[in-house]
Symmetry: C2
Subunit: 383 residues, 2 copies
């Protein structure tokens, strides 16, 4: 997404409608370069220029504005969890048009992939009613994902290794497919439309089944030279702490993920608690062993955020994920550990929470598909 | 340093001589934009175009090349340690012309600042012989430094808080002054001229009196929204570890910095060891308590590098600093802990060592002065 065209497009996606002059200011492109970028996008209908209806001034003649025509194309975004597939149909502005959930009966590729393909076919049928093409499919999966190669290298939750997901899904659906790490995909959507709009440096920390982190530095999502980035789940917090599935002890994920919390709650209460809601109920009932487990989880998350902030100095850290359901129980631990570990002025970083249901993660997957579509020049190909 | 002119300039600084076409390719600027950027820089003599003498092809007529005229301007770079001031006079290509060391008799601002000013005046006198102006002074100091404001907010080694160093030094020397964190300054020089040339993502980890880290992400040095970045010295490695000067326990710096190693060596041997060379001699003599101290330091450094690599996925990590003197004693610990903590393909990151004497740190300070000079448009002002 480095070309002038894609830079103009994403600027309009986040901030449009804008005048051409404002587009130039925000992208650091010259007026000539903006015109050169805008022209083919307008000719093919992805951008529209005119007096914007929503931004008409109260008095006087409005300036000509440029915006993205959301209705010009459709995209499908999918998030795969360990339990279900969540799919959204979005327009070119990444506005959600339809949401579908399908429970998974197993986690093996041969169970998940047919279910995924069937769901995409269902959405493609629905999309027929919109009268425009579905131009791409984005799939977001937790774990080590090689976006360029379209391969899920390792997904601990699904137990997948080296699954060439993009190729398989493209063959099954006939769509161009983008596969990315789920937190990175959500970070793209947050950067374009969410709590990261207008920020050049922020982190999105997700707590739940795992502990994830997406990073934007100097205005771009960090992907890592070898595809790994944002791995704060395996920060070593406590060498005497519980064993982690990665083989080390006392990782943040081994203390603060939902499964880790459940394990610790079982140990603290000697009860067979297997459901997060039951653990929450015990904590809200005031069981000190259980509240202690959540407090410890909060400390681990706060320390991890402190490490992030000390290393990168972002403007904002957004905490999200299904683990927010227990945030009242961990908040104090997060705050205390963050304050104790943030170095000097790094403590001024804005740490905030933001609930993002799985449909938003699927929307993030659609955002990566839009990114690929605009960035690859696919939009320029004649239909 | 985001303008087309400064982007062209730094590209030529690192990679020149280059043809204009090659400059365009490397900076993603159009031929027209390259010409527009190059023209005033050539008119004022900072760039030269011609047949480069050093790059003349064996056969045929050489293409016209553009390069930075190193002799066009001079800069002074200064690194202040707890014990001495190291100053270099460099040309516009940041090539060192003179090096001066002055021991410090105290660490208070009123002791350091006059010594610093006297050293700058000495170099200014020497510079007279070169027949070109000294255009800027860069000062590199360990700690929390606000480059934009020119203030040393907190330097633990010097015991300084909120010293408006840029203003004071500008008044004393009459030069435009850039003050930056010392590791960040060294990172600029490594990015332009050292082991970071051509890399868009790398980390420079310095071990010695403290543990520091400079980061380049997406081709730019990370400064942090609030001025703090790269603080891996205070990663919490061991909650039962030694107390750190930051108030926490078991920080990397409390285990692996030179003073921490000396403390641990004294505890292990019950001898009054106060000099790094003596500690090294004991370790090389095979004292198991002392070699254990170095091994533990290596593990802490390796864990810190693992954390960095898991979060940012750089292409390379460069280990430097005066602590490299003991690298044979810590190398195995670094390697083992890095391998154990790097997640998946992140372990493919190239981890390498590179000795950089303090004159190179002072050169980094000069590089920040060149950066300020070119980035601020000061070079465009008539003389």
């Amino acid at each position: 997404m480095r070309s002038a065209a894609s830079s103009v497009f994403t600027t309009l996606l986040s901030h449009g409608p804008l005048t051409r002059a404002e587009v130039g200011r925000r992208t650091s492109l010259s007026p000539a370069a903006v015109t050169k970028a805008v022209r083919p996008l307008m000719r093919l209908g992805y951008l529209v220029e005119g007096e914007d209806e929503e931004a008409r001034p109260a008095v006087g003649r409005p300036a000509n504005l440029v915006w993205v025509d959301g209705g010009r194309a459709l995209f499908i975004g999918i998030k795969v969890t360990g339990d279900e597939i969540i799919a959204v149909l979005t327009d070119l502005r990444c506005r959600i048009r339809l949401v579908r959930h399908v429970p998974l009966t197993g986690r093996e590729p041969w169970t998940v992939l047919p279910a995924l393909a069937a769901l995409v076919r269902e959405l493609l049928t629905e999309a027929d009613g919109f009268g425009v093409r579905v131009e791409g499919l984005g799939i977001a999966i937790a774990g080590d994902v090689d976006r360029a190669g379209g391969v899920v290298r390792y997904s601990p939750f699904l137990g997948w290794r080296d699954v060439p997901l993009a190729d398989i899904a493209a063959t099954e659906t006939g769509l161009p497919v983008t596969v990315d790490n789920d937190v990175r995909a959500l970070t793209v959507a947050e950067h374009w439309f969410g709590a990261g709009v207008g920020l050049s440096d922020f982190a999105l920390v997700t707590v739940g089944a795992g502990i994830g982190c997406g990073l934007v530095v100097h205005g771009q999502v960090v992907s890592g030279a070898h595809g790994v980035a944002g791995e704060i789940g395996h920060l070593p917090i406590d060498p005497l702490g519980p064993l982690c599935h990665c083989g080390n002890r006392g990782c943040v994920e081994a203390i603060a993920s939902d499964p880790a919390i459940l394990r610790a709650v079982r140990a603290a209460t000697d009860r067979p608690v297997t459901d997060a809601a039951d653990a929450l109920a015990l904590a809200h009932g005031g069981d000190p062993g259980v509240t202690g487990v959540y407090a410890r989880a909060g400390e681990a998350i706060g320390q991890a955020i402190g490490v992030l902030v000390n290393i990168l100095g972002p403007e904002r850290v957004i905490i999200s994920g299904e683990g927010l359901a227990a945030y009242d129980l961990v908040a104090e631990g997060v705050r205390g550990a963050f304050a104790a570990s943030a170095f000097g002025t790094a403590s001024q970083c804005d740490v905030t929470t933001r609930p993002l249901p799985f449909a938003e993660w699927a929307r993030g997957a659609a955002a990566t598909a839009i990114q690929s579509f605009m960035g690859s020049g696919m939009w320029e190909e004649p239909r």
